[in-house]
Symmetry: C2
Subunit: 694 residues, 2 copies
């Protein structure tokens, strides 16, 4: 675990400090000295005597006082020597701003490995390399080569790109937002995003953690850590690089439907991470969470002095899954008494262009006192007689009297900077548009719901693990192996997922005998190692209810697949024809997180509509239930338009058993159950076909 | 048509000008005088002698010089007297800023009607009432009571809410954008959004028209006007109030699936309007269109000095339907020669933190010269040695040498205002984030594709109109009438949409006789005025292939519906069983635009998945084709997973014939064809069931 004092050093050396204002080593030192950091700062450079009125040491070993942390900005080739000096000096905390590592290719990669070995041997922790540094607002330390002083706040930003600091800075300039810490991970060779997030969980100045990530260093650790951190404080992630992956060829439905991006999103949902899609969302989401009390429900009230923004906010609320609060009659009566008769006293409250700050104050008090209101958005358009500063003061004074979040959208923020200072002082966030304020509520509501969900224990079933092992090993093909048909269904049976009885018949007469055993009607499917999608080849016939039908279908089927140039035919599989709604279940092994579990509506629709949901194993019962509810065609399973509701209980259990199978057999690369038939309530499920890639 | 000089008056009276700085009548006059308007300004107020050093007239009749336009800011009760004075003085152009009309209820509504009568009698055109006024940047006239001087630009804004001016102003402050005209419509009692948009089409200073609309005054005029205007210059609309409607009860699928919002969006698509969902989108979309040459293709290049924003821009491009440009080998070679070896010379080009302005300049030239690049986004993060002003100058100087749009995303715009002035001077838009710049390209690409589409003639079919009329009138029920079953199918036959043969049998034996006539297999459906969704009641049986099957089905079906408490049973309808993919076609009469035509995937999925598309009649052939392509399950019709491709030609024709039926018979309120079966290519379509509400 990363030392919690890593970013609050009691003294520091700047190795590579420079007297040339165009060098990073100068800018860095200047930022540290000008930022207000109170403790010892020791510039190191063998060629300089004094920089910025500070004495310069030739080597870090020459510094007589204790050195808590070293910032390194020397050229790449000098890095290892500097690190050895630091090791000799007993410095355990390094911030490696220098570039020239993994990012420049093979030579740099070797240097990075060497650096990691040295860190390992000496118990050093290293931020970077190739990073911007860090900022700690609490001790006024700007240990980056980026200029600009931020308002201190309680949002921490962990970023794999230094450019995010600039985005954050731009946003802070516009809104008055601020942060507690900024940590630039650079190559994240030694200190990873998980290390920093873990440390920030216990950082008292940080109320909200935001992270900009291009990749995840250790998926399993990240997942368990995120789930724990998000119980303590909100964790928001902007994951970029969404378009890069996902197009790799795959032989299974699950493989093609579960892209890297979808798997990341599944993990975020399972761990309570609030995902942002753009930097603006990251800021807007964290802004409200960092400044105001949490929502207790989803009913939002709006007060405005201009109709348009009220309508826009209402549209955004309707689109976001929040509710427009309904006022009590007493509230409406009180509102009518203080506002213009032609205004709107229902939600959104429109005070019209004639609104005054006193009117705002009274309406704020009335609306916030209504038990049917969980959160409030106050919109102000600087027009007519309204006093912007007075209204801002009213919002700042009234809102702390109620334990409910209040957001502002005062337009013209750049023109009214001084008028709005009172909002910043009282931590009322002023959003740049009504939609963005509603976005802030949406994120807050998501976090509220996460906190309200109890932590669920993992579900474990007893099953015949040996049978699965035997089936997996009996198969004699070379790697990657495909297990399909009967052996695949045997694995499902062993793990406790019911399947259709099925047996292989190698000719038409054998099929007839088998059908008599199984019982009519039966389904017949061609069995060939060369065929993946049997339907396309005319290789599936359903509803066979007589000897004649079976003989005829056998001949047609063989002819069909031969017509497609397939010669390797093992025979046909016969199964009792099961009924129910077709769904698809699947597994896909992910390099980062383990196995992804997929659920979707079955048949031809799965691929065309991409109506699927995803979670990463192990699943809790709620994960499985969420997966089922999440698909667009959920209503079909629940019993839309007079159809019988399906056995969702049995379906949930199948997902949980599949998740357990994945955990026990990491060698499963991909698995499709397609279709699984879900019968009426109480009548269970039947896996009709299954396919594994090992 | 609104006079093109309405907003460029040669002189104006301010009736209700005030000497009290807290009154609108003072602020308005002050804005006009301080804005730089060069012509005659005549304050009018019987109680004042001089305001802001100008002589005041007691009555507009007393002004000796010509008065081209009157701005009215008197209290509501004085309005009619003032208008009569204006009429007597021969003033035809009025801007009614005063409130106290429709927006205050019944009394105000009467005043508004009176005002309109007076306008009619005297040939006056009136903007407002209850509006903010207007701004014309060309003649430096700020005839609003909102303060703040805008940079002149070429974007016009027409708004039904005055607050939009403030949003626009906030955005302009942040980006340096500007506008040609701002027109606040207020109640739009006499001058509507269509009037102003029509005028702006011919306004030379306006290159892009943006509109904020809460409703449409005259849907049919708006539609034809918009289609014409958007051929001349981009027309962007932010339509709010999306959440208000759409929940009204409806007896048909089409009625419930075609909400007001969906119909507006259909019209926007058919007329080339670029729809924005938020004010930010409205600004971002117009910003690029107003400043840069149009895209000629959809291949976008990115140059950046920080990896993160490059990845974010790539994600946004992948999500938006644009393409990441692929450079030629020559381009890559040239890039390698000028940039750091560890940067990325493929798209997105990452110059890394070591980028200089000279490097930017060379790379800009190389990338823009590549024939595979249609547009360029230049990202700059102010870090390392980069010179912001020098890079901005390079972008401003290089980009005009190529007839391709170039957008910037220079971060830290608020800190580097002076450095970035050169971008504004050379009309290079600087977006606030990479995603928002990509949004700008997306809108531009949408407009390019609209311009590239040729104007299509309407399609007209000959059909038996008399037969339709007779069927409509023969039906004897009271209004609103429902026509279903056989008569409804007769109407479709008459208009040229093939239907399944169907006849009514009133008992089981009649059904057996009928089936022999039609030919097996047949479909049987219960016929009752009390049943809408027959499937839910067990009132449909398919695939009946014998006398016995028909007798058995008849009994079961009658028993089923009686079990549901339905007693009025007319018998059963028998149809030959048609095959093909099930789709739904529908009509819904819309108060604004005429009839909406709906298309969707059929069966139980139509409602559950809401996989439908919508256009407003009359349809062109392309509209119909677009509707078919637009649904998510289009691949099913086109022949996914080895299925036979469906007869889309016949389907397109059915949509066109339905559109024509709607145009000829406005009394049709709702119509569902559910299902229409679409057979294989060349085998046509069959309407199986149909229902009209008249």
């Amino acid at each position: 675990m990363l030392d919690k004092d890593f970013f609050t050093p009691a003294s520091l050396a700047v190795i590579g400090a420079s007297g040339n204002p165009e060098k990073l080593g100068y800018v860095l030192l200047q930022n540290i000295l000008e930022g207000g950091y109170q403790w010892g700062v020791y510039p190191v450079n063998p060629k300089e005597r004094e920089i910025l009125s500070r004495p310069v040491y030739a080597n870090v070993r020459d510094i007589p006082d204790p050195v808590d942390l070293a910032l390194v900005v020397v050229p790449g080739q000098a890095v290892m020597g500097v690190l050895q000096d630091c090791a000799a000096r007993g410095i355990k905390r390094i911030v490696m701003i220098s570039a020239g590592f993994k990012e420049i290719g093979e030579a740099g990669l070797e240097r990075e490995r060497e650096m990691l070995r040295l860190a390992e041997e000496n118990g050093m922790r290293i931020l970077g390399p190739n990073c911007l540094g860090f900022i700690d607002a609490g001790i006024k330390l700007n240990a980056t080569f980026a200029s600009g002083v931020h308002e201190a706040g309680n949002i921490a930003l962990v970023a794999q790109s230094g450019a995010m600091r600039q985005s954050f800075w731009d946003w802070a300039q516009m809104t008055g937002g601020g942060f507690s810490k900024f940590v630039s991970l650079g190559n994240a060779a030694n200190i990873t995003e998980s290390d920093v997030i873990e440390m920030l969980r216990d950082d008292e100045q940080t109320q909200v953690i935001t992270a900009y990530l291009e990749g995840i260093s250790d998926g399993r650790r990240f997942r368990s850590l995120a789930a724990a951190v998000s119980r303590v404080k909100p964790l928001l992630v902007l994951k970029v690089g969404r378009s890069a992956a996902g197009s790799r060829a795959s032989v299974s439905h699950t493989g093609s439907l579960a892209g890297d991006n979808e798997i990341h999103e599944a993990v975020f949902r399972q761990t309570g991470i609030i995902q942002a899609q753009t930097p603006e969302q990251l800021f807007d989401y964290s802004y409200g969470l960092a400044t105001q009390p949490l929502l207790r429900g989803d009913r939002i009230a709006i007060i405005t002095n201009a109709g348009g923004p009220g309508v826009m906010a209402s549209d955004a609320i309707a689109a976001s899954g929040l509710q427009l609060a309904k006022f009590s009659e007493a509230t409406v009566d009180q509102l009518r008494a203080v506002m213009p008769s032609f205004g709107s006293s229902s939600n959104p409250v429109d005070l019209t262009g004639g609104a005054t700050d006193e009117m705002y104050r009274q309406v704020l008090e009335t609306v916030l006192a209504d038990d049917g209101v969980d959160g409030l958005l106050v919109v102000l358009c600087p027009q007519g007689p309204v006093n912007v500063a007075g209204t801002a003061a009213a919002v700042a004074e009234v809102s702390p009297q109620f334990d409910k979040p209040v957001f502002a959208n005062f337009m013209g923020a750049l023109d009214h900077d001084a008028d709005l200072a009172v909002l910043r002082e009282h931590s009322v966030p002023n959003y740049l548009s009504p939609e963005r304020a509603v976005d802030g509520f949406t994120a807050m509501n998501r976090y509220r719901r996460w906190l309200e969900m109890e932590v669920e224990p993992a579900v474990k079933f007893d099953y015949d693990r040996t049978a699965v092992e035997q089936t997996l090993h009996n198969d004699s093909q070379s790697e990657p192996r495909v297990i399909a048909g009967q052996p695949a269904l045997q694995i499902l049976e062993a793990v406790g997922i019911p399947t259709a009885r099925a047996s292989l018949a190698t000719d038409a007469e054998a099929a007839v005998r088998l059908a008599a055993e199984i019982g009519y009607p039966v389904v017949m499917k061609i069995e060939s190692p060369d065929i993946v999608h049997k339907t396309e080849f005319g290789g599936v016939v359903v509803g066979l209810d007589s000897t004649e039908a079976i003989r005829a279908a056998y001949e047609t089927m063989v002819a069909n697949v031969q017509k497609h140039g397939v010669s390797r035919i093992d025979g046909v599989m016969l199964q009792k024809m099961a009924t129910g709604r077709e769904v698809i279940l699947g597994l896909k092994r992910d390099a980062q997180y383990g196995h992804a579990v997929l659920f979707g509506i079955g048949g031809i629709y799965a691929e065309v509509m991409k109506d699927v949901s995803l979670r990463v194993a192990p699943l809790t019962r709620r994960d499985a239930a969420d997966m089922i509810h999440e698909i667009r065609s959920y209503a079909l399973l629940a019993g839309a338009r007079g159809a019988e509701p399906a056995d969702l209980e049995a379906l949930t259990e199948s997902l949980l058993r599949l998740s357990q199978l994945a955990g026990d057999f990491p060698q499963i690369r991909e698995l499709d159950i397609n279709p699984l038939l879900v019968a009426k309530i109480g009548e269970g499920v039947t896996a009709v076909d299954c396919r594994l890639v090992i």
